[in-house]
Amino acid sequence: MARYMVERIFPDGLAIPITDDGAATCRGVVDRNAELGVTWVHSYVSDDKRKSFCIYDGPDPESIRRAAERNGLPIENITRIKVLDPYFYK
């Protein structure tokens, strides 16, 4: 399983309210991803909510793209990433 950072651009801003609807939206994304073996780990969202950096685990970039398509999410760029933890250097 590889880890990817998916950059997304939302011209109109991304709004997932912290309500039951928002939770349902997120769960919907998670469920649809699961069918493809893709896991949405978490995301960072820019202050203006127009850009997000989403960390995903998945078998390959195609699965990431398919998951995005099923969820109606845009993709700007996909990068394969690994963790660099400054506190693990000794």
Partner: protein, 1165 residues
């Protein structure tokens, strides 16, 4: 007796959890130099025990004990005595450091040692956590940790005796840490725990339990994805560091998190826990012990209805203050206990829970013993040997309160008479007490005369008594559970019958194996049957799909009376014509448990009964199964080859291969000729299903056997067949060698069918490397011989090869020949040759950019191969299909096709299919700017390299060039140079014109030197002729937008602008960057950034047409009206509507309109 010099004991405080420290009344005691402190430390570790001087000396100096060491030790001890008892009488006996024979002993009495206190505190804390007293546990453990001042004997760590002691306390400390986390989890402190756990894991990354606790903590803090990520991190870590998988508890926790098991949720500790703990059977404790959860981790899919029913009953009890009794029935392992647990976990009511035991003689009033502790009075009644009436009355008294209670009685099918009497009395007084009583029972284990069944029947009409049935999981639910594992969900459903216990056990055991737990559970159940019933069950176990009554009678005439008992016990179930095990797993468990002699005897009897024609039509497949299990070689030879032939005839080639393999396992006594024949047939079947390894191996054995027999004709023919086996596996040089060897043997034997096929094989080998001259020459020889001897097989074979060559070279007659060979193959029944014709049609049409025909060939070919079980052929066509889709811009579909090729488990050996799939994947990633294109390219290169076949080398070479063009890296460019250069030489040598222009075009695009070549026709030729505009137009005619834009990159600024526009629309960032750079270099300004791919789509990925239709649906238009408005057929609109519903994930037009409004798409935009 000499009095102690310092009378007052208990004044010292000794510390080793940190640098060695001794205090007296809070004042530090000076201990002297390191050696001296080491003496005290050593004695402290062994305090209370005598320590010899020589042992002390060893501890201090190791192997280099100096002379005079005894005196030195004496001096240290003397100084220590002074330090520990200041102002003591030198001649009095020391209170602390006693002299023993040959040594010393540190005596502590009422003094404090931090290590001892730590151990006590940890023991108390662990015990408290164990009994779920989390407050006390936390207090004791926190206090214990407070004793630590640093690393154990930190100032003396370089003495050899310190590390083992330090390790022991570190281990204890780690266990205590985990227990403290458990306690804090139990107290609901999950939110504050995360940073601590992170730090602990950072310090000790391989400690699995910490990872598990962190996962649970994150999950409870609503960070499910982090919890799952934690699992993956651990898994990767263990794999990397130790090469192992996470332990089973962690795996189960992972599965529970995925399933959002409510048992993971935090519940305030309370009476529930106490009652449940006392009543828990070992099995349930085992389940509950996973991570100290309140409940087991059984899954609760498809139980919403039952939970809702229970909720309704409880609220009815609450409002009416009258009780209800719910009997929850279902087969063993169906999840009755899990259901009740899940239900109870969410209820604020008082919960009393007890269970019956599976003892031959059940304990009287068993479940009520479990709940006796609720009150002293009730306990007295039970302990005093109360009669059922007293017990029921006392229990009713206890339940008569203002708040409703929940009473859980588990496994009532095992209940003793007294318990059932209490249940009966309770049920009849229900209306007087606010209780929701729930009793679970296995409805497949109580026959009509079972006491419980009688009781339930009797109470059935009583008000407030209801039954609730639980059925096994559906195939869908099983698939959902299996999703995170690499398990065949359909097979899992079949073997478990949807029984949740079996499903979860199989998944926990890692998939296909028969888990020990299941085996134990099944055998325990069979063991409770009477001896005749057991015999019967064993007989049934040897017949996989279930046994019909006739066979059963033949096998066990004496045991037929026990059928009823087996059915009642739930071990067997009745089927249309007989009986069968309820679960395939259960059957396997019983079959495996049979002693070998009994198993063989049963299979022999079955074999005899089934081969008796009076029993019905003889089924060789079934008989060969029993023949093998009966270890009867003669019978295997009688039935297995016949079964294989039947399977092959209907296109079930895997089964055919398996039957031949079975026959070969028993072929020791066969004549060699017969064995060679079986080997050849098995090889053919294996080739058809793409199992080339075995195909080659068995064919080799056949060649050997024929050579040994001196049968030259068959030896040569087998070599010819092996040539094809080798070639499909990608071993082209070996294939050519075998093909030549076949000819060497066959040619001297004169004209014949085998020789003609050997010529046809040479034709095919020449075609595969696209050697035009050789292909034609061998083709002519084949056709001449075939016509001479009237051999159809070799004739169509050669016609196919020569026709393919012509089609590849752009010759329409070639295509016609190829199509004609396809027709003849179909007419004459050469299925494999027909499949090969489809492969070649797909190959040549894609190469010639003849995409319209390619689509039809691929579609028809895939259908034909599916219909005739030609798996290997199918995947090769799929490879060409993937390439066609890529070229035609259907990238998502191309992705699907490659996923099918590369994801197929049993089709990973066909070189053509795999190379095509890999190159298409690499190109898709590279064009989109996605990562990970190197790995598939590397694999494709490795596979294609040794084959020398242009059809494999060309896609690899051009993909290498395209990647280099997109990246512009010097290393990639060098790879592209050598790949395209060498192949261009080969293509030129063989006259493979279609490959020549493509390779030359890519070399020019990459700025690599391009030799002067004869320019042919087609878009590549136009581009090479210096006419990129015309090339692009040709590409656009072929519906290849991407290729058109690439061609335009060789043009002027206007071309570049157009290329940029296309690349931007396609979302191919790297290529767009190239076009933009070309524009800039040409001095252009105001380069359009273009619409981002992210904004061109819409949330559901609907096409423009679908958006249009959706808009009209939103205006409540019917399909017929929409069709009129859009000037299309109504059927087309039906199709669009179907696609829209699927994409939006809704089931009606109304929902679609609402979804459109919510997503802001459709008419509003």
């Amino acid at each position: 007796m000499v009095p102690d010099a310092d009378g007052q004991g208990g004044g010292l405080s000794l510390g080793m959890l940190g640098p060695l420290a001794v205090e007296r009344s809070g004042e530090p005691v000076p201990l002297g130099g390191r050696q001296q402190r080491a003496v005290l430390a050593f004695l402290l570790i062994r305090h209370g025990a005598p320590v010899g001087v020589s042992v002390l000396a060893d501890a201090l100096w190791g192997e280099r004990v100096p002379a005079g060491s005894v005196q030195t030790v004496q001096t240290y001890v003397s100084h220590l005595r002074d330090a520990l008892s200041p102002g003591r009488d030198r001649w009095a006996r020391s209170r602390y450091l006693r002299t023993e024979r040959n040594g010393y002993r540190l005596v502590l009495d009422g003094d404090r040692v931090d290590a001892v206190e730590f151990e006590d505190g940890v023991a108390r804390g662990l015990a408290a956590v164990e009994r779920a007293d989390f407050e006390a546990g936390k207090a004791a453990l926190t206090a214990a940790f407070g004793l630590w001042r640093g690393a154990v004997l930190a100032d003396l760590a370089d003495y050899g005796f310190v590390p083992p002691v330090a390790a022991r306390y570190a281990e204890l400390r780690a266990a205590a840490t985990e227990a403290l986390i458990d306690a804090r989890l139990g107290l609901g402190e999950h939110r504050s725990l995360i940073p601590e756990l992170d730090a602990l894991i950072a310090a000790d990354p391989l400690r699995e339990r910490l990872h598990g606790q962190r996962m649970l903590t994150l999950y409870r803090a609503s960070r499910q994805s982090d919890a799952l990520a934690g699992y993956r991190t651990l898994r990767a870590l263990l794999d990397e560091e130790l090469g192992i998988e996470p332990g089973r508890p962690i795996q189960q926790l992972h599965a529970s998190i995925l399933a959002q098991d409510p048992a993971l949720d935090w519940h305030p500790p309370g009476p529930v826990r106490e009652a449940a703990a006392s009543g828990a059977s070992p099995a349930r404790r085992h389940l509950g012990a996973r991570f100290g959860l309140a409940g087991g981790s059984g899954d609760l899919l498809e139980r919403d209805e039952q939970l809702a029913a229970l909720k309704r009953h409880l609220s009815a009890v609450t409002t009416s203050m009258a009780g209800r009794f719910v009997f929850v029935g279902g087969e063993a392992g169906v999840g009755k206990t899990s259901l009740l647990r899940r239900f109870c976990a969410k209820q604020p009511a008082r919960i009393l829970s007890g269970a019956c035991d599976a003892l031959a003689t059940p304990h009287p009033l068993g479940p009520f013993l479990d709940i006796a502790a609720i009150s002293g009075r009730f306990q007295d009644v039970i302990a005093g040997g109360g009669q059922p009436y007293d017990v029921a009355a006392s229990l009713l008294d206890e339940l008569r309160s203002s708040r409703p209670s929940i009473l859980v009685l588990e496994d009532l099918h095992w209940a003793d008479d007294a318990t059932l009497d209490v249940v009966r009395l309770l049920a009849r007084r229900l209306e007087t007490v606010p209780v929701l009583a729930m009793g679970t029972y296995r409805d497949d284990q109580i026959d009509r005369t079972h006491r419980l069944r009688v009781l339930i029947g009797e109470l059935a009409t009583w008000p407030g008594v209801v039954r609730l049935g639980l059925s096994p999981l559906s195939a869908r639910a099983v698939a959902e559970l299996a999703a995170p594992y690499r398990v065949d969900a359909a097979e899992l459903y079949r073997s478990t019958g949807g029984n949740p216990f079996f499903v979860s056990e199989v998944l926990a055991a890692g998939g296909s194996r028969l888990p020990q737990t299941v085996q134990d559970a099944v055998l325990a159940r069979v063991a409770r049957l009477g001896p005749p019933a057991r015999r019967l069950v064993e007989s049934v176990a040897i017949v996989p799909a279930g046994i019909d009554v006739g066979l059963l009678e033949a096998l066990e005439p004496a045991a037929m009376d026990s059928v009823e008992e087996c059915l009642a016990s739930g071990v067997l179930t009745s089927t249309a014509g007989g009986v069968a095990f309820r679960h395939e797993l259960a059957r396997m468990a019983v079959e495996i448990s049979l002693p070998a002699n009994r198993r063989i005897a049963l299979h022999r009897a079955a074999l005899a009964a089934l081969s008796d024609p009076e029993h019905g039509p003889v089924d060789p497949a079934r008989l060969s199964h029993h023949a093998e299990a009966a270890a009867d070689p003669e019978a295997v030879q009688r039935f297995a080859p016949g079964a294989a032939a039947i399977a092959a005839q209907v296109g079930a080639h895997s089964e055919a291969a398996a039957q031949y393999a079975r026959a070969l396992r028993f072929a020791q006594d066969l004549p060699e000729e017969r064995r060679a024949e079986l080997l050849s047939k098995q090889s053919t079947e294996c080739h058809l299903i793409g199992d080339y390894r075995v195909a080659i191996e068995t064919r080799k054995a056949a060649v050997e056997a024929y050579r040994h027999l001196g049968d030259r004709l068959r030896e040569g023919d087998a070599l010819r067949a092996m040539s094809a086996n080798l070639r499909c596996f990608g071993l082209v040089p070996e294939a050519s060698e075998a093909g030549r060897a076949a000819l060497e043997i066959l040619e001297p034997l004169g004209p014949g069918h085998e020789l003609a096929l050997a010529y046809a094989n040479r034709t095919m080998l020449a075609l595969n490397i696209e050697d035009a001259v050789a292909t034609r020459a061998w083709g002519v020889r084949t056709q001449e011989l075939a016509e001479q001897i009237g051999d159809r097989a070799s004739l169509v074979h050669a016609m196919n090869s020569v026709g393919t060559l012509g089609y590849l070279l752009g010759d329409d007659d070639g295509r016609a020949d190829l199509e004609r060979s396809l027709d003849l193959c179909k007419r004459w029944g050469f299925r494999e040759q027909a499949g090969r014709a489809y492969i070649h049609l797909a190959w040549a049409s894609v190469r010639r950019h003849d995409y319209g025909r390619a689509a039809a060939y691929c579609r028809e070919g895939l259908e034909y191969c599916v219909d005739h079980g030609l798996d290997a052929w199918r995947f090769e066509i799929l490879g060409h299909q993937a390439r066609r889709l890529l070229d035609q811009g259907s990238w998502d579909e191309a992705t699907e096709a490659t996923a099918r090729i590369l994801g197929s488990l049993n089709m990973n050996t066909n070189a053509v299919a795999r190379v095509l799939g890999l190159t298409v994947v690499a190109l898709l990633r590279s064009r989109r700017g996605d990562p990970d294109h190197n790995a598939p390219m590397r694999e494709a290169r490795a596979l294609a390299g040794p084959t020398g076949e242009i059809q494999l080398l060309l896609p690899v070479a051009t993909a290498t060039a395209e990647v280099a063009w997109l990246e512009g890296e010097p290393a990639a460019m060098a790879a592209a140079d050598s790949a395209t250069g060498e192949l261009l030489d080969q293509a030129t040598r063989y006259g493979a014109s279609s490959a020549i222009s493509e390779l030359a075009a890519w070399r020019r695009r990459c700025g690599l030197p391009t030799p002067a070549i004869a320019v042919g026709v087609g878009p590549y030729a136009l581009e090479l002729a210096g006419n990129p505009g015309a090339a692009a137009a040709a590409w656009l005619d072929l519906n290849c937008e991407y290729e058109a834009a690439v061609a335009l990159c060789a043009g002027d600024a206007e071309h570049h602008r157009e290329a940029l526009r296309i690349f931007q629309r396609l979302g191919t960032r790297p290529a767009a960057a190239i076009a933009a750079r070309l524009l800039r270099e040409g001095g252009a300004r105001g380069i359009p950034r273009g619409p981002r791919p992210s904004t061109k789509g819409n949330p559901a990925g609907l096409t423009t047409r679908e958006l249009e239709v959706l808009g009209l649906i939103g205006q409540d238009m019917r399909n017929r009206d929409i069709a009129q408005r859009l000037h299309v057929a109504e059927k087309t609109v039906d199709h669009h509507v179907g696609a829209i519903l699927a994409k939006l994930g809704v089931s009606s037009r109304g929902q679609a309109a609402r979804a459109a409004a919510r997503l802001g798409i459709g008419a509003s935009r």
